[in-house]
């Protein structure tokens, strides 16, 4: 093996040394997984033990109308690009959650328009150039720059298409071992690592702001009657200023959870973490999170995306 090979392949030799029996527990065939609107990815049958697991992003996604609403105004979009070849770029993933607001169908249209506009912008400016093996140069915008523009573009389109609507918008892009987040509203992104759950976004809600300046305790913020009041959202307000952005390094095995307030607003952080840690399969974990929210009353639409970095 030459030094050249060392750089190109995803180091399968190392994997062989560390390989143990796969810990993935797949649901038994007899267990019914409730059908989810829009279809779902079903877990694959268990792999042969002797074959090494390729380094691959895994993710699960689920959205549910909840117990009290008549329609689902959340939108969820995921795109994962994994090319397996000797010459491949690292895996690429894009995950978006949007929670719409507004009367009639404004909420669901707003969240849909926002999520798809952002995704299209990112696909055109980041993913397609990657696939085209475009030459690396300073002419290309960076992922954070593309995300910022995509947010602005989503804001413009929602204002044009759904004038009375608004939506939260939380987008995550994973490329190699880096996570890029852009965020407006009160949907959330959590980073889970080694038993720690870190909230990496900030809620753009009045209640949170009051809490930050010490005018509400965390419990009071929970009980605050107008806790859904946002001071920043896509499609609302004059200009979209100050999109929150964050970059994080992802360690092997770490997980990213994106969710709307229909989840975090009714299921507390410890309970969420417990479900995630106890469930080996990411899709099943998402389903269980939805179920937990529904069990707690399901007052709002519930959306969750859980992404797991390869080990």
């Amino acid at each position: 093996m030459s030094i050249w090979d060392f750089f190109r392949r995803p180091r399968p030799d190392k994997k062989k040394e560390k390989h143990v029996e796969p810990e993935v527990e797949v649901a038994e065939p007899a267990q019914q997984i409730p059908p989810i609107p829009g279809g779902q990815t079903r877990p694959l049958p268990p792999l042969e033990e002797s074959r090494p697991m390729p380094a691959r992003l895994k993710y699960g996604q689920a959205t549910d109308v909840g117990m009290e609403r008549s329609g689902n105004q959340d939108a969820l979009l995921t795109l994962s690009g994994i090319i397996e070849s000797a010459d491949s770029p690292p895996p690429f993933g894009m995950f978006v959650v949007a929670d719409g607001m507004g009367g009639h169908t404004d909420g669901e249209r707003a969240s849909f328009v926002a999520a798809t506009t952002l995704a299209r912008h990112v696909t055109n400016l980041v993913y397609l150039p990657m696939l085209a093996e475009q030459e690396l140069s300073s002419d290309q915008p960076t992922i954070p720059e593309v995300l910022e523009e995509a947010m602005q573009e989503a804001d413009r389109r929602v204002k044009a298409r759904v004038p009375e609507g608004g939506t939260t918008l939380t987008a995550a892009i994973i490329y190699r071992n880096l996570l890029y987040i852009a965020h407006v509203g009160d949907s959330r992104a959590y980073l889970i690592n080694d038993g720690n759950m870190e909230l990496i976004t900030r809620d753009h809600s009045l209640a949170r702001r009051l809490q930050e300046i010490g005018h509400l305790t965390p419990d009071e913020a929970e009980a605050y009657p107008q806790k859904n009041v946002l001071y920043r959202a896509i499609g609302q307000g004059d200009m979209l200023e100050d999109v929150d952005r964050a970059t994080r390094r992802l360690l092997p095995g770490s997980q990213l959870l994106l969710c709307s307030d229909g989840l975090w607003g009714v299921v507390n952080d410890q309970a969420i973490l417990k479900i995630i840690e106890e469930t080996a399969d990411v899709q099943e974990a998402c389903d269980r999170l939805i179920a937990a929210a529904n069990q707690a009353g399901g007052p709002d639409n519930i959306t969750a995306v859980l992404v797991q970095m390869p080990l």
Binding site: F7, L136, R176, L210, G214, L216, D238
Partner: protein, 644 residues
């Protein structure tokens, strides 16, 4: 400033009779010519409020003159009977309050009546513009002294309201658009409507954040202190031109007034800040106190151009310096025969430095006495590196030298075809260096035998950096390479201008600057740009990493501290001239030299100046540090050793 009354609508030429039918339940805005109550002829809309429009109307009871009035309309759209009740009561409250008030800043109320589901307040017509409109029209800041005067008048009228018996009247809606400036340049408080009920619907509501409301108002607590906060918020907006409705709520402290408008005296800003305290009891106890404080400022303190604040980016610091400069003395200095343009290297008590006098010098690190010197045939711009007892350095004479560190005797040389300005990097048993002949060389450290060369497309003046079995360097055409240890190209990144800056690597990210004004952070494994930061001029300086931050200087004179993972500016410090050299972080202090002849020592976390040391020539080289001493060479031909 001219106060044109665009709010004043011209009356049409033929002001005759034709009584229109009375409005009973009209949809939408009243049209011109409509007459209300047989007395008020609508002329046009002055503005639209939360509950209906405000019209300009003519009072027909005075047929021979044009007596104007403002007619404020309130439409009761509530379906819920309880809401209807509340709304009606709110209308009446406003009318009643206005009817009993008597203050020059409060418009007189002339009439109040209802028709169908609408109610109307007939008010004194005010010719002028509100503060929000004035800000929109103005190009820059409104005169600070004028703002102070208005603030005093507002305090006066609010004080009047707060002292009403039997119950104080809290205005509750203090904001620039509710303060009109009339034709006499006096303030008038408008819009006493208070109905602000939150719609407690399920799910999200978007609040066009009030921006001026105090935090406790969201808990339903309203007191005279609320008006004080709102006045503070309005003044903050006017003085900084930053609309609080576009910012996160209660975030005024993130936007200090002096940062935006240096003409505002510190004392004035302090009054505004106190009014903006989160806790009501920490604001002024009464609005009269605030008024007294504003009056005490006097017009003298408000002279424009008088900047009493030290701006955060470092200008105006000469007083602190003259105190500090006296404390910083060189421990020793050594004079060579020409400029020092390269960075010293300290190893085992000896500091090695190259100079434009063609010599490689070895000096005692503590005393500054000469140990040896080695003459090359060309100026040395390259930084020496010491490894395994050899000092490696390149020279303008095209040769890379390996000199014994102790004796100064040359061990081997490698001759290239171009001048060498880069500093060699020693790793993996090899010396890597670039030359103006476009090649990157990998030469065995022990004996100078060539292992391989890599041909780039232009001179290489960026010193290579080896990390994790990858070699990184830039070229004068803006190419940046990631090579494998055997010289194979793994990836290449193209910038549009030269990369003379040498890269530094930390946790998988490669950092470097370019003449295209950007600082780049690339993924070391594949060359993908993770972030880039744009300075205001080219970046020749090589970045330094420490504690989650990247430090880098620019020709724009600033030293920047950026977040290593996302490139956001944490702080910046402005020196008095260009920075072309690279900073060094040592023991929590970042050192950088500037063309302004000074070596600066700044707190690495905050960017605060600790001291600066003046040399007699521009500093184009970077410092080195060891054992409590910082070494810096200057183009005044000296190498200085300073206490860290």
């Amino acid at each position: 400033m001219a106060y044109d009354e665009t709010r004043y609508i011209q009356e049409p030429e033929d002001p005759s009779q034709s009584q229109q039918p009375l409005a009973t339940s009209y949809e939408g805005t009243l049209q011109p010519e409509l007459v209300l109550r047989g007395r008020y002829r609508i002329q046009g809309v002055l503005g639209v409020g939360g509950m209906g429009a405000v019209y300009q109307a003519r009072d027909l009871n005075f047929p021979e003159v044009t007596k104007l009035c403002a007619v404020k309309e309130m439409i009761n759209l509530a379906n819920d009977p309880a809401m209807r009740e509340t709304t009606i009561r709110n209308f009446q409250r406003e009318a009643n309050i206005l009817a009993t008030l008597n203050h020059p800043a409060i418009p007189e109320i002339f009439d109040f009546f209802s028709e169908g589901n609408r109610a109307y307040l007939v008010l004194e017509f005010i010719r002028g513009k509100d503060l929000e409109a004035l800000m929109n029209i103005a190009d820059g800041f409104l005169p600070v002294e004028q703002v102070r005067q208005w603030a005093i008048e507002i305090c006066d009228v609010l004080g009047y309201l707060h002292s009403r018996q039997p119950e104080p009247v809290v205005f509750r809606d203090m904001k620039p658009s509710n303060v009109m400036i009339d034709q006499f340049k006096k303030i008038r408080l408008i819009d006493f409507g208070i109905a602000k009920t939150f719609d407690v619907t399920k799910g999200h509501t978007m609040i066009g954040t009030e921006g001026y409301s105090p935090p406790e108002q969201y808990r339903g607590e309203v007191s005279p202190q609320s008006d004080i906060y709102a006045l503070g918020a309005s003044l903050h907006h006017v003085l900084t031109r930053r609309d609080p409705r576009l910012e996160p709520p209660f975030s005024f402290e993130n936007r200090p007034i002096s940062l935006f408008n240096p003409d505002v005296p510190e004392a004035f800003a302090e009054i505004v800040n106190r009014a903006l305290a989160y806790e009501p009891q920490e604001r002024f106890a009464a609005i009269d106190e605030m008024k007294v404080a504003l009056e005490a400022l006097g017009s003298g303190g408000v002279r424009p151009g008088l900047s009493q604040v030290i701006s955060p980016d470092g200008a105006g610091i000469s007083e602190r310096l003259s105190m500090a400069a006296g404390e910083v003395l060189a421990v020793w200095q050594f004079q060579v025969e020409d400029e020092i343009r390269s960075t010293p290297f300290v190893e085992k008590g000896v500091v090695y430095i190259g100079a434009y006098d063609n010599n490689l010098w070895a000096l005692d690190a503590k005393e500054g006495s000469l140990v040896w010197k080695y003459p090359t045939e060309g100026g040395i711009a390259s930084d020496p590196t010491v490894e395994a007892g050899y000092v490696f350095v390149g020279s303008e004479d095209r040769i890379l030298y390996a000199v014994d560190a102790r004796s100064g005797r040359v061990q081997w040389t490698y001759i290239t075809n171009g001048r060498i300005y880069t500093s060699p990097c020693v790793a993996l048993g090899h010396v890597f260096f670039g030359s103006d002949d476009h090649n990157l060389y990998a030469v065995k450290a022990a004996n100078g035998r060539l292992n391989w060369t890599f041909e780039a497309q232009s001179p290489i003046r960026s010193s290579p950096f080896v990390s994790d079995e990858m070699l990184y360097f830039g070229t004068e055409t803006g190419d940046f390479y990631g090579l494998a240890p055997d010289g194979e190209m793994v990836w290449r990144f193209k910038a549009r201008r030269a990369i003379s800056s040498s890269p530094t690597v930390n946790e998988g990210l490669v950092y470097f600057g370019s003449n295209d004004w950007n600082v780049y952070a690339l993924d070391g494994e594949n060359g993908f740009t993770v972030w880039r930061f744009r300075a205001q001029r080219p970046v020749y300086s090589s970045p330094a990493y420490s504690n989650g931050k990247i430090y880098v200087g620019s020709v724009d004179g600033h030293l920047y501290a950026l977040d290593a993972l996302n490139g956001r500016e944490i702080w910046k410090y402005k020196t008095e001239d260009q920075i072309t050299s690279s900073p060094l972080v040592y023991m929590g202090v970042v050192y950088v030299g500037s063309i302004d002849k000074y070596l600066y020592a700044l707190n690495a976390e905050t960017g605060d100046l600790l001291w600066r040391f003046g040399t007699e020539g521009p500093i184009v080289s970077s410092p080195a540090a060891d054992d409590g001493l910082v070494y810096i060479g200057s183009t005044d031909n000296r190498l200085y050793a300073l206490k860290a």
